[in-house]
């Protein structure tokens, strides 16, 4: 069975500080990987997606970056957090490229103060 693990579960960070969020998928080779962001009370906004190792496409510019250093790992980061970065970050994977059923991780709750 496939599992998706996100870390950390929650973070409280200061404005201007760096951030690194991680996501690991086990039991599935070469998945499509995604980062989504959900502001409090807001919808799910896709931030990045990756089809293969070393390749990441940006969907929305939010002063964030993403990398895929391994087939099963997806990292979201920034060097300087903004207040507007607060929210719920979700990693997801899919394998069905024709219909994109997404399987989400449990998410990271980020509070920027």
């Amino acid at each position: 069975a496939q599992t998706i693990h996100q870390w950390p579960v929650a973070e409280i960070k200061a404005v201007g500080s760096p951030l690194s969020l991680g996501c690991t998928i086990k039991g599935k080779s070469s998945p499509n990987l995604y980062w989504y962001w959900q502001a409090t009370g807001g919808t799910l906004q896709q931030l990045f997606y990756s089809i293969t190792v070393g390749q990441v496409e940006s969907v929305v510019q939010l002063n964030l970056s993403a990398s895929r250093p391994k087939d099963d790992q997806f990292i979201l980061s920034t060097e300087k957090l903004l207040l507007s970065h607060s929210g719920f970050y979700l990693c997801a994977w899919s394998l069905d490229r024709s219909a994109e059923t997404l399987y989400f991780g449990s998410g990271t709750r980020l509070t920027v103060l």
């Binding site: 906004q45 089809i51 496409e57 024709s98 219909a99 059923t101 997404l102």
Partner: protein, 113 residues
């Protein structure tokens, strides 16, 4: 571009009454439509996905029918349960893009005794 519209932001129902959440879409191509459900403090999970052969998907008592003539994929259930209280997102994916699932703004369903 491709987009999904959910008109109800908040829906409050009494247990036992029927549920209907609206979803309409705009797409240049023939899309796949999805319903995702997100319970409080949990990650979104797939509830239903449209079929290419026009079968009506059903899960946990919920069903939805893709009507191409009206560009709709409304979510229905004959009798609401307390455990149905959650956020419901309609989403769209275009076959072959392999990378983007567009979500609606979501509808918060609250079922009371």
């Amino acid at each position: 571009g491709d987009s999904v519209t959910q008109t109800e932001g908040l829906v409050t129902l009494t247990e036992g009454l029927p549920v209907m959440l609206n979803c309409t879409y705009q797409s240049t191509y023939s899309p796949f439509l999805f319903w995702y459900v997100q319970h409080l403090n949990e990650a979104p999970k797939l509830l239903l996905k449209s079929f290419t052969d026009n079968k009506r998907p059903e899960h946990q008592g919920f069903h939805a029918t893709l009507h191409k003539s009206s560009s709709s994929f409304h979510l229905q259930k004959s009798s609401a349960q307390l455990s149905d209280s959650a956020l419901y997102y309609c989403a769209l994916s275009v076959q072959g893009t392999g990378s983007k699932l567009s979500f609606g703004k979501g509808a918060k369903l609250t079922v009371s005794p």
